[in-house]
Symmetry: C2
């Protein structure tokens, strides 16, 4: 399972939601909005430059800029549909043909890498999971390389043992359905592909698919994903002429999303400015229409209770709605959530780090976020203050506009 | 790691001692002595016909009869030496060129296979480890095949984890030296080869070599081994005209062995008729000359104490002599024996089942012994009555002739 260079060999080796979001940006005319994504290592105790060199990182990132979406990758996307309707229109597929990832900015600042991806939204958008996958794999390989050849083999062997333990636990509950959300956190490209192949054969219908577009193609799986915080964050920079417009920008994302994909991809991400705001702002007709919500920060049990109460308060049967849990899941948490909520609301699980990076090494909490858009700083508040971002001044304004009350702070482990 | 057919592809896929013994038989003119080896499953609770069919076993055994020693295998043997002197003479290598394994007799009797290998000693001798390897691998594959594909992979993964744990324990004591004695007990041909390759890279000089002649050739290792009980048992049938001659037959083996190989292979197997007899019978000049003894039954700690006392009683410094422990070793027993005796006598470890068949499945205690020779029944008494064999009448006579006192009975696990 040794890593070869370059780590990433296909522009489709990304999370599927990059495509679904980029098409919305294209159809709304936002692909040229200037944005800047920034890399952040939330795991402060790990100084990445001690594990691999800036040059090595550059060589991997440079390799990406030579890649283009290939004809077969575009063909695969053309074939994607949900309930008969095609998912991607020809103008988007044409647009993809012209995508080249923009230049990155990389320097070493003391014990960390300063890594930024400025560029037009419709191009820079594709850096996120690619760069995270690269950094994570370089870090993993650095740890692996300290072992002898057989010790390395055993490290993988132990990971297989743990993977089977998880599979056996999941199999015990045939109504638990999981999705691989682990592209960005994966130990390596090869390992994620291995895990996806194993889950497909060992879990059958309990494995819904993978967020990794390339693996979906190569392994005949369903590519999975909806949208990310960047939608709300970038919209907030496009629509910030007034507090009112800023406040409206959140629901504008939801409306544009519905217009593009309708029911099929109608899973909302409610925590950009805190889920309390979301529940106040989400209209009854939206709650009726949309499939459900994705949980990505804060206590998942509290969130589920709040969600169920929200639907019940609107006279909507929660058992017709879904929560996709996707925040640092462990197998035992998955089972606990299923047992607690499985009969009260539809549940599904987007599983990341502990699925695709359970190699027995230290793992990192890395993110790449759209920190600037339309020449303005962006803001994320989240249901966990450890995940908040933005300038102090902007955060104060956003808290005010979105009526944000203090949330708890929980260190991000993954 | 799937098993392909045939399991055994080379006549040299045998324990090395088959060659060293066969050459003695050739040089003493005993290769035509009629013998009959018999298969015995000491693990009564396992009914082998429930795991694989007689036909499948036949197809594997039939494949062996088509094999011949190849030129490169004979060349490998020609190159073997110890301290300058060549180990195998040209007449033996010529003899090998004509070896074809004789017909076997196989039937299913109730819940067990009755499997016999009659033939001239110099031909039938090669069946022993081959047939044991085949039966063990068929049994292992039957257990493996009950698992899903990934579960099978994880079974190997867990075995790798355990192998590394053993290696790490052994590495802590750089003066522990081990040899792979696991051909007959190996989970599969491929797995033993894998284990040998791993030990060679991970243990360095602490891994002395392997009893498997083919693996030694393929992996550039030292082929290891001396002699087995069959030497004493067959000699006892050639020399049985009187009780005196029978009694002398035991030491005759040792004398012939010394004449053939001198000091280089002078590790005696003392327990055929109980080690008490051996210690009474082994002459002081032999004790001075021979390297040491191999322990193969009874309590190893008691045996080592007895051996040390034996040498000390003769005024021989035990620290110049060696015990090769080879009876159902576990890694912790190896370490315990080393700690207890490592400074008092040279120790070395011939490791079998728990080295090459630690796959997490049930293992068997199988043997193939020369039950008949020269038209007479043979006898083995051993230091563990669970390993004794022979007709009641013969056993009574042998106990009397060799002055055998009752030993303990300990069920054979491996």
């Amino acid at each position: 399972m040794a890593t070869d260079h370059p780590i990433i060999k296909s522009l489709n080796d990304i999370d599927f939601y990059k495509h679904t979001m980029c098409q919305v940006a294209l159809h709304r005319g936002y692909t040229d909005v200037p944005v800047e994504y920034r890399f952040l290592n939330r795991t402060k105790k790990i100084a990445l430059p001690e594990y691999f060199t800036e040059d090595r990182l550059r060589s991997e990132l440079d390799a990406i800029r030579k890649l283009r979406f290939t004809k077969s990758e575009i063909t695969f996307l053309r074939g994607q549909n949900r309930n008969v309707k095609r998912m991607f229109q020809e103008d988007y597929l044409d647009f993809l043909g012209g995508v080249q990832l923009p230049e990155y900015q990389l320097s070493t600042q003391g014990d960390h890498f300063d890594l930024r991806f400025p560029g037009p939204w419709g191009q820079a958008i594709f850096w996120e999971t690619i760069a995270l996958s690269i950094v994570t794999e370089l870090f993993g390989q650095a740890q692996l390389s300290r072992l002898t050849s057989f010790e390395q083999e055993v490290q993988y062997a132990q990971a297989k043992v743990r993977l089977l333990e998880k599979i056996k636990k999941i199999r015990k509950y045939p109504r638990i359905f999981i999705t691989d959300f682990g592209t960005r956190r994966r130990f390596s490209r090869k390992w994620q592909k291995f895990v996806d192949r194993v889950l497909a054969t060992e879990l059958g219908k309990q494995f819904l698919g993978t967020s990794n577009t390339l693996n979906a193609m190569l392994l005949s799986l369903l590519p999975m994903g909806t949208s990310a915080h960047e939608m709300y964050m970038i919209y907030s920079a496009i629509f910030r002429q007034s507090d009112h417009q800023l406040r409206e920008s959140h629901n504008r994302v939801l409306q544009d999303w519905w217009d593009e994909y309708g029911w099929d991809l109608s899973v909302a991400l409610p925590d950009t400015y805190g889920s309390d705001f979301f529940f106040r702002d989400f209209l009854r007709e939206q709650a009726v229409a949309w499939k459900g919500l994705r949980h990505d920060s804060g206590d998942p049990f509290e969130f589920a209770e709040k969600t169920i109460a929200f639907y019940e308060g609107l006279g909507i049967d929660p058992r017709t709605k879904m929560i996709v849990f996707s925040d640092g899941l462990e197998v035992d948490t998955i089972i606990e959530l299923f047992l607690r909520f499985g009969d009260r609301i539809l549940v599904s699980f987007g599983w990341g780090t502990t699925l695709t990076n359970d190699l027995g090494f230290t793992t990192l909490s890395l993110v790449i976020k759209a920190a600037m858009a339309n020449h303005l700083g962006t803001v994320k508040l989240s249901d966990n203050l450890a995940k908040a971002m933005g300038s102090e001044e902007d955060i104060a304004r956003f808290k005010n506009v979105f009526g944000y009350k203090e949330a708890t702070y929980t260190e991000c482990m993954v």
